[in-house]
Amino acid sequence: MSAYAADVAALARKDVLLELRSRDTLPAMLLFVVSALTVFHFALPAGSSARAETGLLWIAIVFTALLGLTRAFAAEREHGALDGLVLAPCDRSAIWLGKTIGVTAFLVLAELVALPAFALFFHPISWELVAAVALADVGIAAIGTLLAAMAAASRARELLLPLMFLPLVIPVVIGGVGASVAANPGSFLGFLALYDAVFVILCWASFEYVVTE
C-alpha cells in the first residue's frame, strides 16, 4: 500500500472508530431518515406519482447527509485536532479523502435502512434508483466534506454549512430523481457520474487551501 493510501486508510479508520465509540452521528441520521419517510408516507395523498414519492426520498437523503456533515469535523474541533493533522507531513488531501470515505460510509449505512423503508412505504426500488443513490453519495460526501471543513472554522457553522451545501447539491437531486423515474435513466446517471468526477477533483485539489488561514 502506498504511503498516501495508508494515510487515507488510517484517517478513515479513525473516523469509523470515533463514531463506534461516540455514536453521535449515525443514530441521529438513521432516526431522521426513517422519521422523514414515515411523515412523508402519511402526508402524501394516496395515488401520488412515483416522481413525487421519489422526490421526497431524495429530500430525505440530502437532509440526512446534511445532518451527518454538521458533525463531520466535530471531533477535530473538540481539541483542535485538525491543526495536528494539518501539521503532519502527509498530503493534506488525504485528510479530506479519509473524511469523505467516513462520511460516505455513514451515508451508505443510513441508506441501507432508508431504501427498504422507502420500498415498504411507497413503491419497490429499482436498480436505477440504487445506482443513482450510490453515485449521489460520492458527490454529496465529496462536496459536503469540503464545505464542512470550511464551516468548521466559522462560528456560524450550523448556518453556513446548509447555506453553502444545499444549492450545490440541487443538481444531485435533479439527477437522482431523473435517473429514478425517467424512461432513459442513462443520461441522468451519466450526469451524476460527471458531477462526481468534477467535484471530487475540485475538492481533492482545493482542500489544502481550506485548512490553512
Binding site: R21, G80, L87, P89
Partner: protein, 192 residues
Amino acid sequence: MIRASQLSKRFGDKRALHGLDFEVPHGGFVLVTGPNGSGKTTLLRLCAGLAAPTDGELEVEAPRGAIGFLAHESLLYGELTALENLDLYGRLYRLPERRERSGAMLERFGLWRARNERAGTFSRGMLQRLALCRTFLHDPELLLLDEPFDGLDAEGTELLHAELSERSATALVATHDPDSLAERATARLVLA
C-alpha cells in the same frame, strides 16, 4: 532557522502582530513573552504554517513534518485512547517502530498506566502531558511551544524540564513564566 521581517498579522480590524523583526538561529532557544493578547499564540501559529502573515516576510527553515507544535488545545482526539492518539500521529509522521516509540514517550511522561484510557477522560495535567508526548513523538527539529507548563504538576514540570534539556532542537517558547526556562534560553522576544 526562523527569520521574520516586518511581520504583521491582522484579524479583521484587530492587529495581532505589527512590524515584528527577529531571527532564531539554528539551535536557538527563544522565549516569547508579553501580556495577554500581545500575539504570542499568533506568532507560533504563523511559524507553524497554520496561519499566513497579513504583511511582511517569515522564513521557517523546517519542513512541515519536522515541527513539534504544542498549542493551548491538545490537538488530540478525546474518544481515542492515549496510545491510539500517538499511534495515529506516528502513522501520519511515518515513524519506524511507532508503537515502541509511543509507549516509550508515554512512559517518559508518566502516562503508561493510562495508555488505554480515552484522552477525553484525562485531567487537564494528564492531557497536557499527552500533548507533550505528541509534540516530541517525531523528534522535531523545531519546537513551537505555547505555555508548555500549563496544567502540569511539579512532577510534570520536572519531566518537561528534563525532556527539554535532552533536546537540541531549535525552540520558540511562549510563556508567562520566563524565569523557569531562563537557564535554557538563548534569547528573549518581548511582544508588547
